[in-house]
Chain length 215, copies 4
């Protein structure tokens, strides 16, 4: 296992700059967080996409959001089968251990994962149908969303599927008994958002996703 390499110099330099400035100015807060543990108010589930920055758009400080990021901000349905479910583990930790007050699913425009799912479901990407395609199998979570939008005019389908990626995740979250309990007892709320990375706008689901309104 000799495959780890030294960090590129430009990252070393930037880290040293951060240490001498941001860390110096905020070390009291960072030490406080290390000593007293995290108390994030919300879990955010967003995409790995490098253009999505939820801490920035919400002015969030270190310690404020517990953030899980995966391809297309998806949550699978509850499946206590003893297998490895990284997203379900993150949800369990946020709800059961941290007792967050909100779970916020943040989708975004120009999502490569959603585009891949659309291509796969519409027969344009047979390679994603293969058993060995991790991306394809992961995007299977969104197949029920494709069924709901496939009759829309073609040019509306991708946008609608990006919104479905957040709604399907909310539906799947509700299949977890501990999520349902927390929501139904008023301990936790769920939120579905789509961030338009080009226009900088933010849309949120209303009426269970039948309408989307600008925040």
């Amino acid at each position: 296992m000799h495959n780890v390499r030294p960090l590129p110099q430009y990252l070393v330099s930037r880290f040293h700059g951060w240490k001498a400035t941001n860390y110096e100015d905020n070390s009291a807060w960072y030490r406080h967080l290390a000593r007293n543990g995290q108390h994030p108010r919300a879990m955010v589930i967003s995409c790995c996409d490098s253009r999505v920055h939820v801490t920035s758009i919400f002015g969030a400080d270190t310690g404020e959001f517990f953030i899980h990021r995966n391809i297309a901000n998806l949550v699978p349905a509850y499946a206590p089968d003893g297998l490895q479910h990284g997203t379900s583990a993150a949800v369990e930790y946020a709800v059961m251990a941290l007792k967050v007050a909100h779970v916020i699913v943040v989708g975004h425009t120009s999502c490569g994962g959603v585009a891949g799912c659309h291509a796969m479901c519409s027969g344009q990407a047979p390679e994603l149908e293969e058993k060995s395609s991790f991306i394809g199998r992961w995007m299977d979570i969104l197949r029920p969303g494709y069924e709901r939008i496939k009759e829309l005019p073609f040019e509306e389908q991708i946008g609608a599927l990006e919104r479905q990626a957040t709604l399907i995740s909310i539906e799947n979250l509700m299949t977890f008994p501990f999520v349902r309990d927390a929501v139904e007892s008023g301990q936790m709320t769920l939120h579905a958002l789509v961030h338009d990375i080009s226009e900088g706008s933010l849309w949120q689901a209303e009426d269970g996703g039948r309408r989307w309104v600008a925040v």
Copy 2:
């Protein structure tokens, strides 16, 4: 599916503030990213923990890092079994679609997931052994790491296990054929780091993890 709720007002206010300042100042770049797609230079795999902020410590701009965050920054071994593997899908997308130059695994001190794994493996947390524990099953990935550190003096074990969480992930990354190919052909490098969230320091693995040195 009527469980989605409006965003808390303070997040709405902060978003409007971001839109009027950060977005206004950078809209050309955001539109460029939306139009031309993302070209991140690295994939970062870090923990969901609210105290870990890799874009901050590396001064990273929007568009620079493709970021996957899960509990304890773990990567499972390659398993093309047709099941859902969110982490493997993220790795596949980063390496095959985005062709990132680096995969950087960033662990951290005070990791709740690692502490849970240590408790489970040392017999202190039987509830994590249950089939229905998503956290327990996810932390199974780190069991081989526990075997390597369990003979250390007790007070050194947690720190050593936090480092193992990054080394095991690097080892597992190398079981993916497309990762191995990219590494061995010199297209991509792997990096294992541990961020001390209290001291603000950053440690990196050398000699395949036999030594850890301050960056």
Copy 3:
């Protein structure tokens, strides 16, 4: 005196956001307030607790409430002894200079100061009895309230003492000659409230505090 440090970056960002939105939209009103002085209709005395937000629960605008916040929303008795009395100074300014129409004392549930007073008075917190304990000496104001509630069933005592914290303050306010004059001449009214931060409810004293009714 080199102990002042730069503001954390996330607060700087949020302030710039506020400036570009809230300030831009309301600058006429803010300039008006700066030019013509404040004319608040009420003085609010509430706790420093981060969970108490009287401007929010009363939909109050900038300029509407003159707000004094201290531990457990207490007002000491009138004592013109030439020493420093921050709360008395605030009351004097509100009544004599601003001529507010109401003084509203807002207590709250889960008050750490009240809990400390209860522990001190019931012999559970000797450290608060020490001369050097600022919290203990401040909570001495509430000792007469403890005498009134100490015979209640134990599980009712804390809630009753939280209500006493507002009633004792009203009683002490009436020992200030200028407060008594304003009340007795019908220029000003006094109000005692307790906000339940969990249930979001608001209770107000009636019959001089013999009954508490939901607002």
Copy 4:
């Protein structure tokens, strides 16, 4: 003690509106805060003035700031004399019980307390010199600040004294042993700001207050 009166109807109406909207939307978070206690990151010391809204300018949510408000945002020097010191009690609670990472003193322009202090110290307000003047005795805390600015051109004196009100408070904070310990051991930082309520700008002290720069 029959002096408590029912809340004015317009405040009752607004409260009911808040309950039906803001509380309904955020009850999960408020219940979380009630159940798990407050973990504010900072203590803010600001003026009672109705035109100063620190939660607004910093986009702060319920639970984020522990806020003490008194006339002219003053902190007296450490005086463990067994008397009642409301401000010192608030500082003790924030630092010792809540272990906040920052204490932020926020002064403001057009401050009536500072103007009164200036009038008193320059001989224009003999009534404030009287033993029975709570405002005068409270503003005595700022007298050392007047000594530093009294040779400035007259039109600069009030602004300079507003800045001194924050600097004197920082100096006095450092006379508290537990504040000094927390600052010197890197557990807590101190910040001095002045908010211009007309222009919406925010200035912060640098170099121990020798320079003030726009945030």
